[in-house]
Amino acid sequence: MSDPDAPVVLIVEDEPDVAETYNLWLRDDYEVRMAQNGDEALDMLDEDVDVVLLDRMMPGLSGDEVLSRIRDSGFECRVAMVTAVEPDFDILEMGFDSYLTKPIRSEQLHETVGNLLERSEYDGLLQEYYSLVEKQATLEATKSSAELAESEEYADLTDRINELQDDLSQTLGGIEDDEDFIATLRGLGNGDEH
């Protein structure tokens, strides 16, 4: 993948064959990095990484430990746990954004990575939406309604807010899914402080 804007996926998997399979599936659409264990994964982690696929059962640092260090690092990546058993909400309560149950098919992998990237997009839109709503409230508090009616800035702001509302309702299917809902809420507290 030579596109410098391609999202970056970090695969953390101790079995080389499995990691290589994921790489083959993903490399046409993403920049792929591969780590064989938790320590390597933490070395390869930087602000460019968008999605981490994290095997839960690895020698050395466990997936859970790696997750907590990723969260402590402050990088805003999304982490999907790769596991052999079908988990439940507990996974979300533990702080993972999603999970994949082995064996994974190409389609599932693409779907999960795509969904996690869409969540990041949603977070970005929501952040922008908030900034504009705050700006709008400031204008409304400091200007008279006559001034607002004449303000081009205010009109542009209102248009952009309406556009963002539409974009938000179309991203992630309007948060129809429980997993999207919980993961989005968890993302609210972290990361985007100004």
Binding site: L92, L126, Y130, V133, T138, E140, A141, S169, F181, L185
Partner: protein, 216 residues
């Protein structure tokens, strides 16, 4: 559509679209919670589900009060309790309780709501109403930006579920700009006030101009 005119006789509340989220705003002691819970009880009398997210009252009190209000034990009610740390989450008799460590634990509140919606759906409630009391308490735990985003995301989730959402806020506890920002996360607002010894309410935002004030 949800018809709320049994509780508040205002035309704008005659057919409220499923997925609408309404802010109930007014100073302290004007009956905001009462109004929200009465709207939920009205739904219960029609066989709908109810979810209460409480930042000020323990689940057992919430359940007892709600049963009193509806006059029946046969309620379908989910409670997200952000106050008591009792470990006995669980369900039974159409009641689903989830405890959350604090009103600032948004993920926990989300999980509680999800579980309540799931339980109510399985119990056969196709429609329902959710009340969150109060945003003012949440704003003491979390900043305005986070509460705004929380409201937006929760609104989307309730919209997908076809629920009606009611969120109370103490208008005297926050500056004008905060209210203005939070308002933007909702489809409309019921304003309540006390005037000459009576409680009054009006609807703003669901129709093009505010309704008249009516006695509650």
């Amino acid at each position: 559509m949800y018809d709320l005119t049994n509780v508040l006789d205002i035309e704008a509340l005659e057919s409220v679209r499923p997925g609408s989220n309404i802010l109930i705003s007014g100073p302290a002691m004007t009956g905001k919670d009462d109004l929200a819970y009465e709207i939920l009880a009205d739904g219960t009398r029609q066989g709908q589900g109810a979810v209460i997210v409480s930042t000020g009252d323990r689940a057992d009190n919430v359940i007892a009060n709600f049963r009193d209000r509806t006059g029946t034990d046969a309620v379908r009610l989910g409670v997200v309790d952000c106050v008591s740390d009792s470990a006995n989450d669980g369900s039974g008799d159409g009641i689903y309780v989830h405890h959350v460590s604090s009103p600032g634990d948004l993920t926990g509140i989300g999980i509680g709501i999800t579980k309540a919606l799931e339980g109510l759906h399985e119990s056969g409630a196709q429609q329902g109403r959710l009340a969150l009391s109060s945003l003012s308490t949440m704003l003491t735990y979390t900043d305005r930006k986070t509460v705004f985003k929380f409201c937006h995301v929760l609104s989307s989730r309730l919209d997908a579920a076809g629920y009606l959402g009611l969120f109370t806020i103490d208008s005297a506890a926050h500056d004008e700009q905060t209210l203005q920002v939070i308002k933007q996360a909702f489809d409309g607002m019921i304003e309540v006030r006390e005037q000459g010894g009576t409680r009054q309410a009006r609807v703003v935002g669901l129709t093009s101009s505010p309704s008249e004030w009516v006695e509650v």
